[in-house]
């Protein structure tokens, strides 16, 4: 079962102001603007993991993973 943490279920549709703010924060040029148009809104600082968190190990050898390995040995 997937049990992700709390962030808002459905972020409100981005409004132009926030979007522009994101662009400013990230220092993106005009080139990025088109794609950013559909970026979800929200507090960017909060939405990012810390650099340490970003590099942490995500893998765990769970029962699920062990089963996968076992089936590959058949």
């Amino acid at each position: 079962m997937k049990t992700p943490p709390e962030p808002p279920r459905n972020p409100p549709p981005g409004n132009p102001l926030q979007r522009r703010d994101i662009l400013k924060t990230l220092g993106l040029g005009a080139a990025g603007a088109a794609a950013a148009a559909v970026l979800p809104a929200g507090d960017v600082a909060q939405a990012m993991e810390s650099p340490q968190e970003q590099l942490k190990t995500r893998y765990r050898e769970t029962e699920h993973v062990k089963r996968f390995y076992a089936l590959n040995r058949l």
Binding site: A31, M48, R60, N72
Partner: protein, 211 residues
């Protein structure tokens, strides 16, 4: 510590595209973006072999080396991730990648190709694990849920494997010994370096046809 790797056993791969479709399903990847794809050699001729290809999450990834905005990062377990917030869509990583992994929403000779997209080893991105933002930009984060990339988990013939590189190498070696020959684990040496020592049947080993 476990190092995440992909291994495609071309003796098993039947080009069924389950991996490609599982990827589309899990991450809702839009039409035209192919994080994973099948490559077939000698199509329709004796010796035909197929391999499933995606970002291999290389040691010393060349994409990261050429990125002008330094948007790549490699996690402690070897997964190469990137920040779509930083990416400027220049396309350099595409030229650097030996596997053709980076994908772009736009095709253009000039200007931005849009935010680069590629396989994340089902490990999401720089946003908090399992967050809606992470899903929207990078897709599911199965690794954080204690699972492996869905492409490998669903592979029809157990050709495509993903997970701890040491365990995969061991499984592959078992298979090669059982068969009495190796057939190469395509891309393995390119991504993770040559294996000159150890069993000749290990992936990348001299007895497996190399690659």
């Amino acid at each position: 510590m476990a190092r995440m790797k992909f291994l495609c056993d071309s003796e098993r791969c039947i080009e069924c595209n389950a991996c490609v479709t599982a990827c589309k399903n899990e991450h809702e990847v839009p039409w035209g973006i192919n994080r994973r794809r099948l490559v077939t050699l000698n199509d329709g001729k004796p010796g035909e072999r197929s391999i499933s290809m995606a970002c291999m999450h290389c040691n010393d990834p060349p994409c990261a080396a050429v990125c002008p905005v330094d948007c790549f990062l490699q996690t402690a377990d070897g997964v190469v991730l990137h920040s779509k917030d930083l990416c400027i869509g220049c396309g350099y990583c595409f030229y650097a990648c030996p596997f053709g992994a980076p994908q772009y929403p736009r095709t253009t000779d000039f200007g931005s190709r849009g935010k680069m997209d590629k396989c994340t080893f089902c490990a999401g991105g720089p946003e908090p694990d399992g967050s809606v933002e992470e899903y929207q930009k990078y897709g599911a984060n199965r690794l954080a849920e204690g699972k492996l990339p869905l492409c490998a988990e669903m592979c029809s013939t157990r050709a495509l494997m993903a997970g701890d590189g040491a365990i995969l190498a061991d499984i592959y070696q078992e298979r090669s010994v059982r068969r009495g020959y190796g057939s190469g684990a395509p891309g393995w040496s390119t991504a993770y370096g040559r294996n000159e020592r150890g069993s000749p049947f290990a992936p990348g080993g001299p007895g497996t046809g190399g690659a």
